[in-house]
């Protein structure tokens, strides 16, 4: 079975086409302006999901051509895996619940009504059929077909089907794989905050691996709007795995059904095999807590005991669910995505560690850009995303916005009148919630519902980027001041000396003591660079002593230390103070002299290291550097040691776990003669009800 077939085979059907006709407002087809955005969204989301599953770097093209009346010709094309001939009717002609509806992992759409809505909406508003071209790589020709719908029978009506070579209109070359959808629907194209353009722009930010383009033409065929967002990375989002539910997110009904349907013989096995985050130790503890015997058969657990189990779930310390079901965008890619769409001076991104709310893993990512072309009047631009899907409506009622508003932005250098609402200033803020279960406020899926844990995580991430911004602003004002001083003593002062001497026909005065008097400080200036040929990020730190006394310092620098990176070209040596902090003891710096610390970091990508912090140890201040906080340094060292210790323990327990398991199973074999292995771990997640 090839990839395309595999995906489509997972689809399940629901007879709701009639329901759509009556409830199209639910599905985003309630206004002419909104309908066109929804249609683009459904199509582009499908393309991105299909490409991601097939591990293809997506190229997506959207074309909207205005026609007479309110009609718009709608075209989307991708380079995805295509749809097999026999699945086309199902994909486009029925309301489908995709595989993702039954699995616990992060995906873009969580309801599979998607593209069928486009077919149906077109038919209802203009009577137009939807023209599909689908090409699967393994087949020699593409399928061309026109689709209409029988809304009462929930069935597609296929006409004009043929097989042909698919030739690209623009290049004249044969297209090897992909999908093209063309139809005519009623709609209204508008620019602005809620527009197709904005939707695609936002999509491109959180899908830096996708190349997306848009062309909009008026009735005369003139281009009235367009966009082109090329990919900034070749790295596809990582494959997300499906996970078992976590005890913290389970409801009584679900637990009871799981118990009923279980073929496990022992409660410990039931817990360990059906839930994530439950170790042998935890399973036993839960059962002790719930006053249940380990050996009881799950099928025979009654409601009261199930309730006891639920209570026990909350009392016992459980491992977090595995996080590989989440697909965060990643710091650097957010930075790239943002800088592709927004021209700015400063970008700070934070990807928080995954966290859990009611058994659902989630992860928060935040990106802040500041300065550059961004307008300083009015509120900052808020870019909200849930599972890589832009949220464009109901900004005010969304948890992401509320968390943003709860931060006191004044402290971080943004204008925040009254400490309420969205702050003002030349900034844009991206908030991405990745979760296996995004709770929305309504069916329309436009605003994320309140959740304390998620709120808190967003806040923490925002505070972190906020600190980055504050630091940046402080640094740039310091840098500006230092630059002015340098200009003063290096350019203007010598000119004053020269000119006044000329006018008076006197010899020029010695400026060294004057400079010391004017500056009266030690300055530090760092320049980060990139050596293209060797792929080395460089850092050059200059320290000037403009005081009347000799100074001695230790300079400490923060650098991105991890298992892939290394310090290179470090001629001064120095020593490691803590993870990511290197220190150099400098020779005595005499008044009026300057020294330089140069080093490089290998193993980084370009643009990955653009900002650093310089610290110092020694007497007197250094403008441009911060006195090292020794207690903080100690803390860093301690937490570092802790991480190492944890890792070791983890390794040990990994070795231990199979032993325990084997021992346990041996006992089982001795105690019962029934066969366990055939049933173990076989409970399919697709049998579960969707919450």
């Amino acid at each position: 079975m090839n990839k395309a077939e595999e995906i489509s085979s997972k689809q399940k059907q629901i007879a709701v086409s009639e329901f759509f006709e009556k409830n199209k407002h639910f599905l985003g087809f309630d206004s002419l302006q909104r309908s066109i955005i929804t249609a683009v969204k459904e199509s582009v989301d499908n393309s991105l999901d299909a490409c991601e599953e097939a591990r293809i770097l997506p190229n997506i093209h959207v074309e909207l051509n205005k026609q007479k009346g309110d009609k718009i010709e709608f075209i989307t094309q991708d380079n995805g895996p295509g749809i097999p001939r026999n699945a086309i009717e199902d994909v486009f002609g029925k309301f489908l619940l995709g595989s993702r509806f039954h699995a616990i992992r992060q995906t873009r759409g969580q309801q599979g009504i998607g593209i069928t809505g486009v077919v149906m909406y077109s038919q209802l508003t203009t009577g137009s059929k939807t023209h599909i071209i689908s090409k699967i790589k393994s087949e020699s020709s593409a399928v061309f077909v026109e689709l209409g719908l029988d809304t009462r029978k929930n069935k597609a009506i296929k006409t004009g089907e043929k097989r042909e070579l698919w030739i690209d209109e623009r290049t004249g070359e044969e297209i090897n794989q992909g999908l093209r959808i063309r139809t005519i629907m009623k709609g209204k194209y508008q620019k602005g905050k809620q527009s197709v353009h904005q939707y695609l722009r936002m999509t491109s930010i959180v899908n830096p691996h996708a190349s997306i383009s848009l062309i909009v033409r008026d009735k005369e065929g003139d281009i009235i709007d367009q966009g082109n967002w090329p990919r900034t990375t070749e790295r596809l989002p990582r494959v997300v795995s499906e996970i078992k539910p976590h005890p913290h997110g389970i409801h009584l009904g679900t637990l009871q059904r799981m118990l009923r349907e279980s073929n496990e013989r022992r409660m410990t096995s039931f817990l360990r095999h059906n839930f994530s985050g439950v170790s042998m130790r935890a399973a036993r503890e839960i059962l002790v807590n719930a006053k249940l015997d380990e050996g009881r058969e799950p099928k025979r657990i009654k409601a009261d005991d199930a309730q006891e189990m639920l209570n026990a779930f909350q009392k016992v310390k459980l491992l977090s669910p595995p996080m590989d079901c989440l697909s965060p965008i990643d710091d650097l890619l957010i930075k790239k995505g943002l800088s592709k769409a927004i021209d700015s001076r400063f970008a700070s991104t934070v990807t928080r560690n995954p966290s859990v709310s009611q058994g659902n893993p989630f992860q928060i990512e935040v990106g802040l850009v500041f300065g550059g072309d961004l307008g300083s009047e009015g509120p900052i631009e808020v870019l909200r995303f849930a599972n890589r899907v832009p949220l464009m409506y109901q900004q005010g009622g969304c948890l992401l916005t509320k968390a943003l508003e709860s931060v006191d932005w004044k402290r971080y250098g943004l204008d925040h009148p009254g400490g309420r609402g969205v702050p003002k200033g030349p900034a844009a803020l991206l908030i991405h919630l990745a979760s296996t279960n995004v709770q929305f406020t309504s069916e329309a899926k436009e605003a994320v519902a309140d959740n304390e844990e998620v709120h808190e995580e967003i806040r923490k991430a925002l505070l972190e980027v906020g600190r980055g911004l504050k630091n940046h602003l402080k640094k740039s004002s310091q840098r500006k001041k230092a630059k002015e001083k340098f200009e003063l003593v290096n350019i203007i002062l010598p000119e004053i000396a020269k000119k006044s001497s000329e006018i008076l026909s006197r010899p020029e005065p010695d400026l060294a003591p004057v400079i010391t008097q004017i500056m009266n400080a030690v300055f530090c200036e760092e320049i980060l660079g990139w050596e293209k040929d060797r792929k080395v990020a460089t850092c050059s730190i200059k320290i000037y002593n403009y005081t009347a006394r000799a100074r001695a310092y230790t300079i400490l620098v923060k650098w991105p230390e991890n298992k892939n990176t290394a310090l290179v070209d470090n001629n001064r040596g120095g020593r490691k103070e803590a993870k990511g902090i290197w220190a150099w003891r400098l020779d005595t710096l005499n008044p009026g002299t300057c020294t330089t610390v140069d080093f490089g970091v290998s193993g980084l990508a370009k643009g990955e290291w653009v900002d650093t912090d310089i610290f110092f140890r020694g007497n007197g201040e250094i403008i441009g550097a911060t006195r090292i906080d020794e207690t903080l340094l100690d803390e860093i060292r301690k937490s570092e040691a802790l991480v190492l210790a944890e890792e070791e323990i983890l390794k040990e327990s990994e070795n231990l776990e199979p032993l325990i398991e084997r021992a346990e199973e041996n006992v089982h074999h001795q105690m019962t003669s029934s066969i366990l292995e055939s049933k173990e771990g076989q409970l399919s997640l697709s049998d579960w009800e969707v919450e």
């Binding site: 200009e487 203007i492 004053i496 006044s500 001497s501 006018i503 008097q517």
Partner: protein, 368 residues
């Protein structure tokens, strides 16, 4: 050396060198170069009893090279010094605007805008006790126009003295006052008048001229053109000093016109360093007063926010700290009205010359 005295070229150059020397000396001592100036704000002007005008007080500010912006100003002063020295030596002069453009070639000493160069020229006047005529710097602003039976001698471009009677030798626009009205350029020769009438607006100047008021009332009429230029104030001062004729100021009744009068009679804040040379302490404010608005029932406008602000700030201005001015300002605040000179036309074109001015002048004992 005092302001207003004619100085030799060398004296001016020496004074300017003093500015450069202050900076150079500081640097020799290992200190940042600096320039010391009086504070040039309303808070730092006080009445000089001896001179009978307002002068800068004792508050000094030091502009030193510890900040980039001040250092730039110091560098610019040196460039100006060099430029003026060149002009003095080559017998040239330039306008302030020309100097601003010439500064384009001064690299780091170039001006950001013309206001900067104008202010710095004034700073140098203050520090050196010279006037800009000494520096060979000219303003672009227009001098006044004069009509009346007075005779001047002006040195023309050929270096010849030219005799001009401001009634017989000029057209309707009158005699144009040159930017330099010092004795080396302009002589006050003869007059047959009883007083000098300084008029704020061009419309009123033309009305008085058309009605033949200069001959009828035996006066010289000067058009101030709003806030009077330095040369306008200087020529009034000379007419007052040399001919001992009263200077009467006829202006609109609004806070800004009061300031025009204050700059004529007491000196302007910006030029307080040369007040004794520009201000005519004997000048009298003839009208229009707040009283006149009521007495003549003149068409008036409501005071705007900025008018009210200006009045308020005049109450704290030492130049208006007399009983009469306080009364006028308070009355104006009370009625909340202002009136233009030309509102007198309510009663016909000749009302101003037939009724208003004779009545006002009569009150001062100037009957005709």
């Amino acid at each position: 050396m005092t302001i207003g005295e004619t100085k030799s070229k060398q004296e001016v150059i020496d004074a300017l060198h003093g500015v450069a020397a202050e900076m150079h000396d500081k640097m020799l001592k290992g200190k940042p170069p600096a320039m010391t100036l009086p504070v040039r704000t309303k808070k730092n002007i006080q009445f000089d009893k001896k001179l009978q005008v307002y002068k800068y007080g004792k508050n000094k500010s030091t502009r030193d090279a510890t900040a980039l912006s001040s250092a730039r100003v110091l560098l610019r002063s040196l460039h100006i010094t060099e430029f003026i020295e060149e002009m003095i030596n080559s017998g040239k002069s330039s306008t302030l605007r020309e100097m601003y453009y010439i500064s384009e070639g001064w690299g780091n000493g170039k001006f950001g805008n013309q206001n900067e160069s104008n202010n710095l020229a004034e700073d140098l006047e203050i520090v050196t006790k010279c006037i800009r005529e000494d520096f060979k710097l000219r303003p672009e602003e227009d001098g006044a126009r004069i009509i009346g039976n007075v005779t001047f001698e002006e040195k023309n471009r050929k270096g010849e003295w030219m005799r001009i009677n401001c009634r017989d030798d000029v057209g309707d626009s009158g005699y144009g006052v040159p930017y330099n009205v010092e004795s080396e350029k302009l002589r006050l020769v003869e007059q047959d008048i009883d007083f000098v009438m300084a008029v704020e607006t061009g419309g009123m100047f033309d009305r008085l001229v058309e009605n033949g008021f200069d001959e009828e009332a035996r006066c010289a009429i000067i058009h101030l053109k709003g806030q009077p230029a330095r040369s306008t104030r200087r020529i009034m001062k000379r007419m007052s000093d040399e001919w001992k004729k009263p200077i009467l100021v006829f202006a609109d009744c609004d806070p800004w016109s009061f300031r025009i009068f204050a700059s004529i009679a007491y000196g302007a804040i910006k030029t307080a360093h040369i007040s004794e040379y520009l201000a005519t302490n004997e000048a009298i404010y003839l009208g229009i007063t707040a009283d006149d608005i009521l007495a003549y029932d003149l068409p008036s406008d409501d005071l705007t926010k900025s008018d009210l602000g200006a009045l308020e700030s005049e109450l704290s201005d030492p130049r208006f700290a007399t009983g009469w001015w306080k009364e006028q300002i308070n009355l104006m605040q009370e009625i909340g009205k202002k009136a233009e000179q030309q509102s007198l036309a309510k009663y016909g074109l000749d009302f101003v010359t037939d009724t208003y001015l004779p009545e006002k002048l009569g009150a001062l004992g100037l009957n005709y």
